[in-house]
Symmetry: C2
Subunit: 234 residues, 2 copies
């Protein structure tokens, strides 16, 4: 394997823990208003609308909207199930911003610190620029650029998202590695010619409900991002 | 004046010294091949093609190309004047990369360090992502995102470049400040509703040939970026 010149990162699940973060932030917004629920179930239900919401755009049925807008649309679909049909527009806006306030998994800082010595680093996420910038400030990520869906005006796993990221850095796909905790993301990247780095996040969707092993052949794999980085550059 | 939530930066001339840098890097490429010339005159001639090269794209006569491509086209126009008609494609490629190897003015690190405590920071330059990322690595800039021409697929001073930057950060134009050493850049930003911060770079184009004072009303002005930052947040 050649040494990658750039590392592209999936963010939700791979770099940050969306489930516990959305649950915590939703509670912070809704509990003072008198709502109570299993907050992780709310996070799971919201995330459960994720692919369907983006598929409207990937298929061309709707024009591109940034992920905050998709999150807001998806939120509308689950409000009734959680007794939230009457919340205000401002409360909905605060809930959408829950996705801007997620925390990195504990190994991420050390992993990125190693990878940064070896190549360019950029999120290639479905998250929009403002969301990526907010997560970076919160977690002190130092990206070389934000790339991904909003830059490409389409959503992963469409090829244009991966290829536009390579082109932005003047690199061929074979010079770049996509890093993700999701086999479908890595499969799409590999089909575009990128190298693939799998990070296990076995508890991403709840205890034991994430991927602990890749379901496809990958160029490198680690039990977390720090292990992946040390395997690549030991 | 409200406190800006984001600061957008012109890069060539405002943040980095393109003239001395291009002269130095062109010499490093061409002198070993036996060429000699007044290297700052070469830099000035190349930069002299800058607006005409972008105007082809702003006018719609040519589709968007990243600035590296515009720089390469502009280089072709001046090679003959400097006895360089016979240089190889690889030498031309190395010359284009001179623009990736420019140094910040000495006040920039301190200025950005102050501004970063008060808002999001992004280049809103005509330079492409790979060029902006290379300058950031070289000079240790910590941007929240790279925005500007390549993101907007058009060149300043077209309104879409400024407005797309505000939208990327979910901000209104009135919440953002454009920082530049060029009155025409600030004039266009102000017409879009952005606040304006002028930085004097009196020697940008050679001794005394830069702007030492803005030619239009601005919201803030400094003799350098550090002074601008301290005036805003004293």
């Amino acid at each position: 394997m050649r040494e990658p010149k750039a590392f592209f990162f999936d963010i939700f699940g791979t770099i940050v823990d969306w489930r516990e973060g959305v649950a915590r932030e939703a509670r912070a917004v809704l509990h003072p208003l008198g709502h109570d629920m299993v907050w992780t179930a709310f996070a799971d239900a919201w995330r459960g609308q994720y692919q369907a919401g983006m598929e409207e755009i990937r298929s061309g049925r709707q024009p591109f909207s940034k992920l905050d807008v998709v999150h807001a649309r998806n939120l509308e679909r689950i409000l009734g199930d959680f007794g939230l049909s009457d919340i205000s527009d401002e409360t909905k806006r605060q809930l959408v911003l829950a996705w801007h306030r997620l925390d990195a998994w504990p190994d991420v800082a050390r992993g990125l610190s190693i990878l940064r010595k070896h190549g360019l680093l950029a999120p290639v996420s479905n998250g929009n620029f403002s969301l990526m910038a907010a997560l970076a400030r919160r977690n002190n990520f130092h990206w070389d650029a934000i790339l991904g869906a909003e830059y490409a005006r389409d959503y992963k796993p469409k090829a244009g998202v991966y290829l536009s990221a390579c082109e932005a850095f003047d690199l061929t796909p074979g010079e770049c590695m996509m890093v993700a905790a999701h086999s479908d993301d890595l499969k799409a990247a590999a089909e575009c010619g990128l190298m693939t780095g799998f990070v296990a996040r076995p508890n991403e969707k709840g205890p034991g409900k994430g991927e602990s092993e890749p379901r496809i052949p990958v160029d490198a794999a680690g039990d977390d991002l720090f292990e992946l980085a040390t395997k690549l550059f030991r």
